[in-house]
Symmetry: C2
Subunit: 472 residues, 2 copies
């Protein structure tokens, strides 16, 4: 292993091979639940260096764990505890390679921070629509490796849908380059989408050509109270019909989730939560004018009132109010932390099945664990809920969560499974959910995945034991 | 082989195993350029029958060639001449399984004709936006197996982008079902997109869950004359910025292509072709009203006139005129046939590189073959041109094409390659372009594709020799 470190130092330079110091920044996961121990951290500065590092590790039989901003929620980029895995940080690989306005594309390296990508697009008059909580520190390579979701998926799709091409270093250290910005190419298998979402187990993404959109001239937000998830779905259907592609966000929040924001951040002035079971946040992006966007919302909400779907609603009066409304939505996660320990889930079912799923999961949990509290919110437009469970009000939350976490998740995932859903809608599998796949994913799918992994990475050196079991 | 036919008859019934009669409908390709000879045609009526047929063929070592509507343009679903391959027609597998309006999804079997899918969606108030010339006879299974494109890709993407999930029979005869209509699912590798576009070489698509869109309330078309492809690109950029997602079509046609329509179909009244090098057809879909759509076009064309981008333009006055304008565009292919033999290409480069590509390819061809005539049209919004070459006016076109076809395509593909483009933008590889891939596709990509094929179909019984070489 000393020999390998010497070789790596020869490739990337002494300053870019880290060992013997505090490597928590790389070895401890974002939620501080998993700590690993790397042989070393290697920080290549070019695609050629990535390829050379991969070749050297393959020759030495050393496993590589690729990492971007280390903001993942499933411990997919943390080395194991063995001290033998090489952690490859892609953060130095952060050049903006090319902006092509006529092709509506932006080619960037994997280590670019998502917010930087958004800003580069914005400065040129375009929108890169991927948007999520960690955007200030997550990297685009990690976003693509995990097929990140976020708040605008209802209009623009997941990270996968925002990528036209990739540059990837294979487990053999070869470089596949697909950065030509083609919108149509039917000359063989879709390698791009195979690497996207494979969590670094099939190849290392070093650069990507991303889709840009013309920047809307106006952005407006509305907040509406509804009596039930059924009504929230009716409002969604109406919004799709009347707004078409102008509908760029549709988030739902239950009363208890909003009550926590009100309790812990009273200055945020949460609208309407007190008298309504659910609130919905809607976003419109408009290519004409703010007045036009406002007209669209007024027409929609009028129809919704008439149809008895919406009990109360406001449209933001200013850009400040747009930010304030979104700030309430984004404060739910922190308010949960303030309230105490809880159990999180990131699940999806078909949009149409959301109400029945929630009804069934709520009932099963309430029966098994009287007093549980439901913090339920998320991207209803995509059928994706963060269905989280807060400990009963009057107990030692930490002990309660430790005692019941496994049972709670099993109940939730059984309900998800009964409704044909996914136990990881947008966060991936990584280390933390790998053991659940055999139970909740089709055996045929797992067999196909394993065959692909073995074919592309026969030595199992790329992020072994993530997504699939390490079998060697 | 007699034994295999008996087994197949036992699975699907005597009437659904065809042999000893005229099988041209299945054995001769759409463009009548390739004729094969099948051992038999087998027509399963359910997914279970497909699986049983695949198992029986695998046990007998017989290859299977899956076929939908037999409208492909690269002979990807025609058996070879050996008389040993089983042609599996999916046309009987044509049930509409489920329409889920709240989830905006439609689940159909592979043999459903595309137009039927469009009509089912339309009758329920939705749009299924895949639209292409063969829609009256091609099947959705074939559309997905070849990742079909068409005329609305600029807004809705290729067939791949319109599919949320698949049901697939693997080469081992197992069924993978992914029809749950999830918009987010990050529990492993993207098998869906691996099967989409794999042309029946990795599995047989038996059903799909498709994305629906709310049906626009108005659809309007404009026709504009521009002096150059550079100006066409400027108009495209302006249209993206002003129309956003309301822009649902952007087609370009050169003067010679339109002159052929005018010559052979004078009753069609081709607008503006006589005085302008290029014409553009723009489509707007609107969720408000026809008046609003008209306003959008008027604003766009006013800006374009002011910027000196557009020389002349009309907006359709009626739905009839919308159809008439599209009919001109769609008549180019037939007008080419009337004019005589020609050489077709289906290429793509980045939108921004289209003008330079055409300039270079035109010059290379004119230098090599004086008198060649360029029929150049296609989906400029996607960087996809049907860059076709008509024989010189005064020669025996058939003999000329026979003598020069290979040389012409080589010149075109060299230019495509120089601009980082694709030699098959939307038609696939099949039999006819397979031999070109080693020259025009990255060796790393081909190696990855071959590894995947071998891993998933180790006996090479599914559509062998298509996309990739048959290696045994």
């Amino acid at each position: 292993m000393t020999q390998l470190i010497q070789t790596l130092t020869g490739i990337v330079g002494t300053h870019n091979v880290l060992q013997g110091t505090d490597l928590s920044e790389y070895e401890l996961d974002w939620r501080q639940r998993v700590r690993g121990k790397a042989l070393c951290v290697v920080r290549p500065g070019s695609t050629a260096e990535v390829a050379a590092v991969v070749k050297a590790c393959a020759a030495a039989g050393a496993a590589i764990v690729p990492q971007g901003g280390n903001t993942g929620l499933v411990a997919g980029s943390i080395p194991d505890a063995s001290g033998t895995q090489v952690l490859m940080s892609l953060r130095r690989l952060n050049a903006v390679r090319q902006l092509d306005p006529e092709n509506l594309t932006l080619t960037v390296e994997a280590g670019c921070v998502l917010q930087t990508v958004q800003e580069v697009a914005d400065a040129a008059g375009f929108l890169f629509p991927l948007s999520l909580g960690a955007e200030g520190s997550c990297t685009i390579g990690g976003n693509l490796a995990t097929n990140a979701g976020g708040t605008q998926v209802v209009r623009y799709g997941n990270a996968r849908d925002l990528c036209l091409g990739l540059e990837v270093v294979t487990p053999q250290g070869e470089v596949w380059s697909g950065l030509n910005g083609l919108r149509k190419d039917n000359t063989g298998y879709d390698l791009r989408d195979l690497f996207v979402g494979s969590e670094g187990t099939l190849g290392i993404i070093t650069a990507a050509t991303l889709k840009l959109y013309p920047k809307p001239v106006a952005h407006l937000t509305a907040w509406a109270a509804v009596a039930s998830l059924e009504d929230a779905n009716r409002l969604l259907g109406l919004a799709h019909r009347q707004l078409g592609a102008s509908l760029t966000g549709f988030e739902v929040m239950n009363q208890f989730a909003l009550s926590l924001v009100d309790k812990h951040y009273p200055h945020l002035r949460v609208p309407m939560w007190h008298d309504h079971a659910w609130c919905v946040l809607l976003d419109v992006s408009d290519h004409e004018s703010e007045a036009h966007a406002r007209g669209l919302f007024e027409r929609l909400l009028e129809s919704a009132f008439e149809a008895g779907i919406v009990a109360d609603a406001i449209v933001a009066e200013s850009l400040k109010q747009v930010h304030d409304l979104w700030h309430v939505r984004e404060s739910i996660t922190l308010a949960q932390v303030e309230e105490g320990h809880n159990v999180k889930h990131d699940i999806s079912v078909a949009v149409s099945r959301i109400p029945a799923f929630v009804c069934q999961a709520d009932a099963a949990l309430a029966a098994a664990l009287p007093g549980v509290r439901f913090v339920n919110f998320g991207h209803l437009g995509d059928g994706n809920l963060h269905y989280n469970i807060q400990a009963p009000a009057d107990c030692d939350a930490k002990a309660w969560v430790q005692a019941h976490e496994t049972q709670i998740s099993a109940i939730v995932y059984e309900a998800v499974s009964a409704f044909g859903g996914s136990i990881s809608a947008e966060h991936g599998v990584g280390e933390l959910k790998r053991h659940l796949l055999p139970q909740y994913k089709s055996a045929v799918a797992l067999k196909l995945m394993q065959a692909i992994k073995t074919a592309i990475d026969p030595l199992n050196t790329l992020n072994p034991g993530r997504v699939l079991d390490a079998r060697h």
